[in-house]
């Protein structure tokens, strides 16, 4: 490097040169017009860069950071007690003190009585109360309660109006106390208030009155506290206020003693369909949801006429109306072979489309006589090739294209494009991913397997299946696992996409991911009330170890409300408000049976330990919102429906003459539960349909 080049490099940092170096540079600049020109340009550049406006961070960043900091012991997987930093604590303590002082002024804002003697039915009667507090008002509540008795769950909707500088995470405490201030039931949940300044924000809280409590009058108290206060706070309603808590008021309610439920008489159930063998896409195949009409009145199933269940040559497709029991066969030939769940799609509640494996398809009504052969390809029916958001406004689709230029033997390159379209068909969002592909699992038109695909040969590859992605509410599309990338969360309203793989990176699982058999997987759920979502992330190691539960890795539970992550055992599932841990206990003797255990807890606050447990000799199946649970006793042929999380027996059915050891399946919304059952005398199989929701259980 010559002297000119050495000095030219120093131009880039001329402001930070020491005096001697600066003098040498100045001397050179005097004689070098190029460097002089550059210096002017660099100074101008510095001014331009220094004048760049700084984008402000999101207003919620501070709240999220402190929430994450508070959970940093769980986040960093280190057992450490959390202490707020002194400066932050001083601010929060002052905040809390203000809350406490104000609380003294606003306690006892409301007190209402109901005096029904045994079971109290609280009329849904929203009240209007205004308790001003630091910009937060509790406007009222909606006590749309079921008859309140010990052992049952109580639901309370609270309506808030908050005018805060930024969305703020606070804790709402709802509890029942007796005359001695003894807490008989309590729930504490994080809420984020201030998201819509001037708007009404609703929070819903549910608590269970323990069944062992006798009837009597209890006071129902609602309080607000600052979750970033100095540790857990005791609740001292109406008396001494602790820092960081304000009691909005209390309500006296009457709780009836537990009424020992009379065991419901089991209904006798007859199969809605029978055949030598029956089949439908099983419960664990999410594509099977396509078998249901949107209103869940019709479901498609197959009768298997061949001796061997896996001989598809004599399959017959049928449509069953689960409300009326009417069943009609499809007049053509459609087998279950390959992706049975993709053979059927519904255009609306009346019209169904049936496809053969390669291309041919028909459109008609389930029990209609007219079936029209389709001339158009599957892509013409977006509702069959994509996932519609629950409100029908957005359609998520996937396109796959093969790059023949890089095809090599059994491997090739695939371009995968996921798009979100609006109702006009405009692509408003999406991404493309290039990844290597093994042709091993591909089946060509002539039935050969493991070769490079022929263009356009296999339509199902071009659809976004419900086992690959799901909508969390109307705004988020969760792709469970993209090859090479891992799970992705797309937000319809934002250009940028939150990449959930980052979570693995944050937790130092990147090395686990790299070199792993397959990318990490995520499932998730949205709480429709709060709009918060929860992601359950399964590291690759959990997949690899899944065959041995003892050695299985833990899963990561990400709370969007607080940005925190906690570890939960393998076998966890979420539904937006609840976390369930499924586990199996080995039998204690060689002749014993395993015990199946479900532990259920509210998702909020993160890391809470308020589990309710169920254990029994069979796996239970939840309905969509986890308010009901079915237990199938295979040998006795009994099906029981229980409340969740009190596990109370609600209904029971028996299926005389049948053994319930067949396939099980739940309709998309959870209204219906299907099970095939073998006839004890070897005559064939029956299809039983069980109502599985509040609405249908009462019918």
């Amino acid at each position: 490097m010559n002297r000119h080049h050495q000095l030219e490099e120093q131009l880039a940092i001329c402001d930070q040169l020491d005096a001697a170096a600066r003098a040498r540079l100045d001397e050179h600049i005097e004689t070098c017009p190029t460097c002089r020109q550059k210096l002017v340009a660099y100074r101008l550049m510095d001014r331009r860069l220094a004048g760049l406006p700084d984008a402000p961070p999101a207003p919620a960043l501070r709240a999220h950071f402190y929430a994450a900091l508070a959970n940093s012991s769980a986040f960093s997987l280190q057992p450490s007690a959390f202490n707020l930093p002194s400066s932050a604590f001083r601010r929060l303590a002052a905040f809390g003190l203000q809350m406490g002082l104000l609380a003294l002024l606003v306690v006892l804002a409301w007190s209402l009585w109901w005096s029904v003697p045994s079971i109290t039915t609280v009329t849904p009667e929203p009240v209007t109360i205004e308790v001003p507090f630091e910009g937060i008002k509790l406007l009222g509540y909606d006590a749309a309660l079921d008859p309140l008795e010990a052992g049952t769950a109580v639901k309370l909707s609270l309506y808030w109006m908050a005018a805060l500088p930024a969305p703020t995470i606070l804790s709402v405490v709802v509890q029942l106390v007796d005359d001695n201030e003894y807490i008989i039931a309590r729930v504490e949940e994080y809420v984020e208030l201030g998201k819509w300044p001037g708007g009404v924000e609703a929070t819903i809280h549910r608590l269970v009155v323990p069944p062992e409590f006798a009837g009597g009058r209890y006071r129902w108290q609602v309080a607000l506290l600052d979750p970033e206060g100095d540790g857990p706070l005791e609740f001292m309603a109406g008396e001494e206020m602790n820092e960081g808590m304000v009691v909005f008021g209390e309500l006296v309610i009457e709780v009836a003693a537990t009424i020992t439920p009379t065991r419901p008489q089991p209904f006798t159930l007859a199969p809605l369909a029978t055949a030598a063998a029956l089949d439908f896409a099983p419960m664990w195949s999410p594509q099977s949801y396509r078998m249901w009409s949107p209103d869940e009145a019709w479901v498609a199933y197959w009768t298997v006429l061949a001796q061997d269940r896996y001989d598809y040559s004599q399959d017959r497709l049928h449509f069953l109306n689960v409300q009326t029991g009417q069943s009609c066969p499809f007049p053509g030939t459609v087998s279950r072979r390959y992706e049975a769940g993709e053979r059927v799609g519904w255009l609306d509640n009346e019209q169904v489309v049936v496809f053969q494996i390669h291309g041919r398809g028909w459109r008609g009504r389930p029990c209609g006589r007219e079936w029209t052969e389709l001339e158009e390809p599957l892509e013409t029916y977006p509702q069959l090739a994509g996932l519609l958001s629950p409100d029908g406004r957005y359609l998520a689709r996937r396109r796959l294209s093969f790059d023949d230029n890089v095809s090599s033997g059994p491997y090739g390159r695939l371009q995968s494009t996921v798009t979100i379209e609006n109702q006009m068909g405009d692509v408003i969002h999406g991404l493309t991913i290039l990844h290597a592909l093994s042709y091993e699992g591909l089946i060509n038109e002539d039935g050969r397997q493991g070769n490079a695909p022929e263009p356009g040969y296999d339509f199902w590859l071009n659809s976004l299946l419900s086992d690959q992605a799901k909508w969390l509410g109307n705004d988020y599309l969760l792709i469970h696992a993209m090859p090479d990338i891992g799970p992705l969360l797309l937000h319809v309203g934002h250009r940028n996409i939150h990449v959930t793989a980052d979570l693995f990176q944050r937790l130092d699982l990147a090395n686990d991911y790299q070199g792993a058999f397959s990318p990490p997987y995520a499932d998730g759920a949205l709480d429709p009330i709060s709009g918060r979502y929860t992601l359950l992330l399964r590291p690759p190691s959990a997949q690899l170890d899944s065959a041995s539960p003892e050695g299985a890795a833990e899963m990561l539970l990400y709370h969007s409300a607080t940005g925190t992550v906690e570890l939960v055992p393998h076998g966890a599932a979420v539904n937006g408000r609840w976390l369930a841990i499924f586990d199996v206990e080995s039998p204690t003797s060689p002749t014993g049976s395993p015990t199946y255990i479900v532990r259920l807890r509210p998702l909020d606050p993160p890391g809470n330990d308020n589990y309710d447990s169920y254990s029994g000799p069979e796996w239970p199946f939840f309905n969509a919102d986890w308010s009901r649970m079915a237990v199938v006793a295979a040998e006795s042929g009994r099906i029981s429906l229980h409340g969740v999380p009190d596990w109370a027996l609600l209904s029971e059915w028996e299926t005389p003459g049948y053994r319930l050891d067949g396939l099980r399946h739940r309709s998309p919304s959870g209204r219906w539960f299907l099970i095939t059952s073998s006839e004890r005398q070897g005559g064939g199989e029956g299809l039983f349909v069980i109502p599985f929701s509040d609405e249908t259980a009462d019918e």
């Binding site: 131009l11 880039a12 860069l49 900091l69 999406g430 090479d484 940028n496 990449v499 793989a501």
Partner: protein
């Protein structure tokens, strides 16, 4: 002072500029928010190194840079589709979100620089870190900082002339 206390103090002092710096590197607001939070949570996680850190600001920028570079590295494996593009058939219209940014020629020019040149230029010209601090933040030698800064300036100059024409 515990790690959490230190993290909170550093957060209060630096989260604004750290966010802006990360945002300039990754150009994604939501991701920048996430990485900013993560930067300060790393302080808690790696708090045992705090006594060895003689320049906390440089250390923070180092964490932020590493996180941003990692995110960019992962981001290369996939590509976002432009707004209102039609099926990737090349019929993409103008991106209204991009338009907002591209009005600013400086930002546009800056965005043409690869991240490992953009980072030292931002740290030097926008956030006024010394060459030594930049070396710590980027984990390279001071001599390498000078070389990169020089190249970054030249790249920026050419890009700026290009976009402002």
């Amino acid at each position: 002072m515990s790690n959490q206390e230190t993290a909170a103090e550093l957060f209060e002092a630096y989260h604004g500029p750290i966010f802006a710096y990360i945002y300039r590197l990754v150009n994604q607001c939501e991701l920048a928010n996430d990485l900013t939070q993560e930067t300060f949570l790393q302080v808690v996680r790696h708090g045992h190194r705090l006594p060895e850190v003689n320049n906390q600001r440089a250390w923070l920028y180092r964490i932020a840079t590493n996180l941003a570079f990692n995110a960019l590295k992962r981001g290369r494996r996939f590509q976002w589709l432009p707004w209102r593009a039609v099926d990737g058939a090349g019929a993409a219209g103008p991106d209204p979100a991009d338009d907002l940014y591209e009005r600013d020629a400086v930002t546009a020019a800056l965005n043409t620089l690869p991240a490992h040149y953009r980072a030292p230029l931002l740290l030097y010209s926008r956030y006024e870190l010394s060459v030594q601090e930049i070396a710590q933040a980027l984990q390279i030698s001071p001599a390498a900082v000078k070389t990169r800064l020089h190249r970054a300036r030249e790249m920026f100059r050419q890009a700026y002339e290009g976009v402002s024409e």
